[in-house]
């Protein structure tokens, strides 16, 4: 068991290294450099001496391999470098953005899982009935309506009808003003969570239907167990593995989705940091944020893997 865990950790590290390489290579393909990004057309106003001095300042023109090496080296020592556009440390930028995105991601996940699993389970128990149809409706909306449409709609509607737009007064951290913080996180989390809910709902429903048709479900009923026990201990437990897998995958989409939603709901999270950084050719920030997203995803997937072995003894040996 421990050895298996170690092996997984190792393969996770290999994956992350690969991710780092890919990110690095993709970023090298971007046209323009930090200089044109930060000065825009004014770059053309600089004298040659100024250009050279600034190129040096921004680290343009170092060999690629050494750039990669020094980046990876410093990442490993917890130093994420310095943002080219704001000249502040990336760690501090990430440090303030990460909790926001984390809270948003967790909130969306909670909303998505609650809606998805409950509708999925109860829908599958009585397919074609009210609960099921309601769930299918939620799923269709969640899958079909892009989050930026839902988000923009929510913001505009709430603001014009209720004069309510809690995010616009600056982000309040959970510890400083929990009530305001919850208001600020709830709607974006709902927007993202709807997509998660749709996917989870369908997975849960399908997995439940599958399990309901399995022989051991019949055995459970035939034993005379109470309905609640049959549903949660036997059926849902049996459906849990695909649901977990889907949750892992959804987390990936969710992290991507924060980019759009943070933009709309004015949340100072990693997604917004990333979009700004891409536009500013702020390589250290883009690299680090993407790596953080990927790490989060990889770690969560490893955790789901571990969860499988806890749920399903067959995967243990």
């Amino acid at each position: 068991m421990l050895i298996a865990l170690g092996r997984r950790l190792l393969s996770m590290l290999v994956t992350l290294f690969g991710v780092a390489v890919i990110i690095f290579l993709v970023l090298r393909m971007l046209p323009g450099n930090a200089l044109t990004a930060s000065l825009g057309v004014s770059t053309g106003l600089l004298s040659h001496a100024q250009l050279v001095a600034l190129d040096h300042y921004y680290g343009v023109g170092q060999p690629v391999l050494s750039q990669f090496g020094s980046w990876l080296g410093s990442v490993l020592t917890g130093n994420l470098g310095v943002s080219l556009s704001s000249r502040t440390s990336v760690a501090s930028l990430v440090g303030s953005a990460l909790p926001v995105t984390l809270e948003l991601a967790i909130g969306s996940m909670v909303i998505g899982v609650l809606i998805g699993v409950l509708f999925g389970v109860f829908g599958a128990l009585r397919p074609g009935r009210v609960v099921d149809n309601l769930g299918q409706g939620v799923a269709v909306v969640g899958l079909g309506v892009p989050s930026f449409i839902i988000g923009t709609g929510l913001v505009t509607f709430l603001a014009s009808t209720f004069h309510y737009f809690p995010s616009s007064q600056g982000f309040a951290s959970l510890f400083r003003d929990p009530w305001l913080n919850l208001q600020q996180i709830f709607f974006p989390a709902l927007t993202l969570g709807l997509g998660v809910a749709a996917a989870l709902l369908r997975t849960t429903r399908a997995a439940m239907l599958e399990v309901i048709g399995l022989n051991y479900a019949r055995t459970a009923r035939g034993k005379g167990l109470a309905r609640r026990q049959v549903v949660w201990k036997h059926l849902f437990l049996g459906a849990l593995v695909p649901v977990l897998t889907m949750s892992g995958i959804q987390l990936g989409y969710l992290l991507g989705g924060t980019v759009v939603v943070e933009q709309i709901f004015v949340l100072p999270g990693l997604g917004r940091l990333l979009v700004t950084a891409i536009n500013n050719r702020d390589f250290p920030v883009v690299q680090s944020v993407t790596l953080i997203f990927a790490s989060g995803f990889v770690v969560v997937n490893m955790l789901t893997d571990v969860a499988y072995t806890l749920i399903d003894p067959r995967t243990r040996s």
Binding site: L30, P31, G32, T36, A37, S38, L39, G40, V41, S42, T43, G44, L45, L46, S47, A49, Q50, V52, A53, L54, Y57, S83, S85, S86, R87, T88, L93, S96, A97, T152, V155, T156, L158, A159, S160, T161, F162, H163, Y164, F165, P166, S168, Q169, G170, F171, D177, L180, Q183, Q263, I264, F265, V266, P268, R272, L273, T276, N279, N280, R281
Partner: protein
């Protein structure tokens, strides 16, 4: 529906912070290197310059109380304001002027406005409260240049400690309080501001990435001032929100490269100039919220013609130019746009494309990511480019870099001619304002009759204030647009 409004703690009720919202964020703190509009606007409230523009775009005193040209306009002497203190407590003297501008021209700084000081040979202090600029040639526009935030007066301590880029330290009405890159920027009032009492105790600049969201925030009354550019958003705010508009200190133009292809032929360019209906472009791209302009859109010389050949669209004239060019059936070229840099450029291009099609000119549109656009633009790698260029009351400041001798931006400008260079120089050195006006009119005629570029329009910027905000009127230039904040109050 005020009755259903949820209970949200309002920032102005608590703490009295005045919140300004913009779609972009404050990107840098070093006033010498900033290029972002918001950076100019915000740092302009912390830093002062020697001179500044007033709302009529005339040059008025700032830290310099008066100035005087002498020696055939080759020496410029400033008298400095006394009793001005930096936020770190140090006093402003002529040493600050010398050191600040020295820092600006140092290549290592990368000051984007260093070129404004190109004709300044030397700066000599004349006692603690006067400085003398020795010029290599007569240059009236150096004064215009000195209004730039890029040429702000810095504290000696900050320069010595290298903290200029980390902690703004100026003499303006507000004092830097905090910065969360990408998100917000806060300032508090400068209690010993030389210009009098500052009413607002604290100002916070919030980044709200879409204008629609800023509108929502204004409706929710969580933002007191929204900086907007989109008329479709600004004009649709509820009546309780007060919107003031002011012509943007920049202009849209279709820049043309005259080196190769059909656009090398002046008559083809003229055909474009006559086929384009600027009024319609203005109407469709920004809903008519702006002004059709020629090469000098604003300032004391703004009177010059919109176009020397076709002030209004004239399709038959356009066709005759095509005839003259030997391309009676029209020709085709490609124009680059970047919706990253100018969201309305797509709409401009869409309209222009349709207009040109009427005379048989086919314009292809290539939309580029911001950075790619800048790169191609700087290298002149385009046939035509929808550009969003900064304007200045001084035509010399505006166009010297494009059409002057050895101009930095000569490559993207494309066209160059000795007559233009001569006009630029004489405009700059001309002694009397009347003379200058005549020269700049000739300059505008030269540009438009050769259809060097097609100048399109300047648009409005919108300053929307929440109910209860009083005393805020925007000023036209970037560094001063928010200067009314010092006397603003909120209910």
């Amino acid at each position: 529906g005020a009755s259903v409004r949820p209970q949200v703690s309002r920032p102005h009720a608590a703490g009295g912070t005045f919140v300004v919202a913009d779609t972009s964020s404050v990107q840098k703190l070093d006033p010498d290197v900033v290029t972002n509009f918001l950076d100019f606007q915000v740092l302009g409230q912390i830093y002062d310059q020697l001179v500044q523009y007033n709302s009529k775009l005339q040059i008025v005193p700032d830290l310099a109380t008066s100035w005087k040209y002498s020696n055939a306009n080759k020496v410029l002497t400033f008298q400095l304001r006394k009793g001005v203190r930096f936020d770190d407590g140090s006093t402003f003297t002529s040493a600050n002027v010398v050191a600040s501008l020295k820092r600006a021209v140092n290549p290592k700084t990368g000051d984007a406005s260093a070129s404004f000081l190109a004709n300044v040979k030397k700066i000599v202090p004349e006692g603690p409260y006067a400085v003398k600029f020795l010029l290599s040639q007569p240059d009236t526009s150096v004064l215009n240049g000195l209004t730039s935030v890029n040429l702000s007066m810095l504290s000696m301590k900050a320069m010595a400690n290298g903290t200029v880029g980390k902690k703004p330290d100026g003499t303006g009405p507000f004092v830097f309080a905090g910065w969360s890159p990408g998100n917000s920027f806060s300032m508090v009032r400068n209690t010993h501001y030389w210009g009098g009492k500052v009413t607002l105790p604290a100002v916070k600049i919030e980044t709200i990435p879409t204008e629609q969201s800023i509108a929502s925030a204004l409706e929710a009354n969580t933002v007191q001032l929204g900086l907007l550019t989109q008329p479709q958003v600004a004009n649709h705010l509820p009546s309780s929100v007060k919107v003031r508009k002011i012509l943007d200190l920049s202009y849209r133009a279709l820049m043309l490269q005259d080196k190769t292809g059909p656009l090398a032929n002046v008559n083809n360019r003229r055909a474009i100039a006559c086929a384009v209906d600027r009024k319609q472009v203005l109407g469709d791209a920004v809903f008519g919220q702006g002004k059709v302009v020629g090469p000098v859109p604003l300032g004391p010389f703004a009177s010059n013609p919109v176009s020397a050949i076709c002030a209004t669209p004239d399709l038959s004239k356009a066709k005759s130019y095509l005839q003259k060019a030997g391309d009676p059936g029209g020709f085709s070229f490609t124009a680059i746009t970047s919706t990253d840099l100018d969201p309305s450029s797509a709409a401009q291009a869409t309209v222009v494309q349709a207009q040109l099609a009427r005379v048989g000119i086919k314009m292809n549109i290539q939309n580029l990511a911001g950075n790619a656009y800048i790169q191609d633009w700087l290298k002149g790698q385009f046939q035509a480019a929808f550009a969003y260029n900064g304007a200045d009351p001084s035509p010399y400041t505006m166009y010297g870099r494009y059409f002057g001798k050895g101009a930095n931006l000569g490559v993207p400008a494309g066209y160059s001619s000795a007559s233009l260079q001569k006009l630029l120089l004489s405009g700059d050195t001309a002694a009397s304002t009347a003379n200058q006006a005549k020269i700049w009119t000739a300059f505008g005629n030269d540009l438009t009759s050769n259809a060097v570029w097609i100048w399109l329009f300047s648009a409005f910027d919108y300053y929307a204030t929440a109910p209860g905000v009083r005393g805020f009127t925007p000023s036209p230039t970037n560094s001063t647009s928010l200067s009314a904040l010092r006397s603003t109050t909120m209910g």
